[in-house]
Subunit: 202 residues, 2 copies
Amino acid sequence: MSSIRERNRALILRAASEEFAAKGFAAAKTQTIAEHAGLPKPNVYYYFKSKENLYREVLASIIEPILAASAPFDPQGEPREVLSQYVRAKVRISRELPHASKVFASEIMHGAPHLAADLVERLDRQARHNIACLQGWIDQGKMAPIDPQHLMFTLWASTQTYADFDWQISTVTGKPKLDEADYEVAVKTILTLVLAGCGLPA
Amino acid sequence: MSSIRERNRALILRAASEEFAAKGFAAAKTQTIAEHAGLPKPNVYYYFKSKENLYREVLASIIEPILAASAPFDPQGEPREVLSQYVRAKVRISRELPHASKVFASEIMHGAPHLAADLVERLDRQARHNIACLQGWIDQGKMAPIDPQHLMFTLWASTQTYADFDWQISTVTGKPKLDEADYEVAVKTILTLVLAGCGLPA
DNA sequence: GTCTATAAGCCGATAGAC
DNA sequence: GTCTATCGGCTTATAGAC
């Protein structure tokens, strides 16, 4: 029911993701978002109350996928499989949710001023869990001793970069958009470094 | 001579780096920059003409250091040494010029709308040169065959992340600021992955 | 629920005194 | 060269008709 409501909210959210990703929160205009959604500006306020609220919803939409990408991190798991699945999942997010990914990155870059405290808490807890898993595997001799915190930073950065710095990637590769095969090479390249660095032979 | 002019320009540039890094171009206020510099707002306009101009100067200030970090890329060089020096130089930039680094990253994230065409050209040329060097070494059998473009993306992302996502890094490590030893671990960790992945044993 | 027309406030930029 | 005081435009947000 209320299909119009759901449809319009979805249209606005999609337009907002693109606009916030392209310009950042402050530079984005609700006017432009409305035009992009094919609706008059007051509808944006009717459905989302304020620009900030709309931004927060875009931000919230990327949190679950990001947390879900860490699902493979299980102390019982095999490092090789866990890292492979994690990198693959994170690159997939950069590919399939590029706008929200970029909004999230921009938010983190500026110190997460709009990110709800409970979301910060969940993200932080997840990061600590992943790092603890890595440390556990190192202690058990299942992988080479490498600093798990800095390993996570590199994993995060190297996968996220396909969304965040897509302009740079397009410029260097000469392709406006990477295709399926390009993303496969990306995953393989990151995994070659990570698995070799962790002493996990193919 | 004109030491006041130089001093005031420097004060404003420093304050602007911090403000632009913290808030982004659009959200940054010239008022706040002026206050941070300990000068009245019109001085900012007197010395820099416009907010955009000031921003461009901050941006330009990081380009030379970034290009200089690629200096080790020489076809005659040893991959192991070149990569080590590059990673070390890029991490040093993230540490020593964190604000300008972040401004640069934010600019790239948004498609480089303010970056002068000649600077874009130089950065692009440098990236292609680095990639060509890597490909040359691979062809000569001096390093393992890995996609050089994607390797550069990971190098860029993993070193840049120490400036761009300092908030995340502080949260996870529990340290407001990393110290000398932390940055050394960062470099070592990135190099462990990169050198192992490139088949370049210690 | 939808949209036109407008209010309210903020911020970049400058005029003009010193 | 420096700064106070102010303008003018732009954008968020809403009132109120439909």
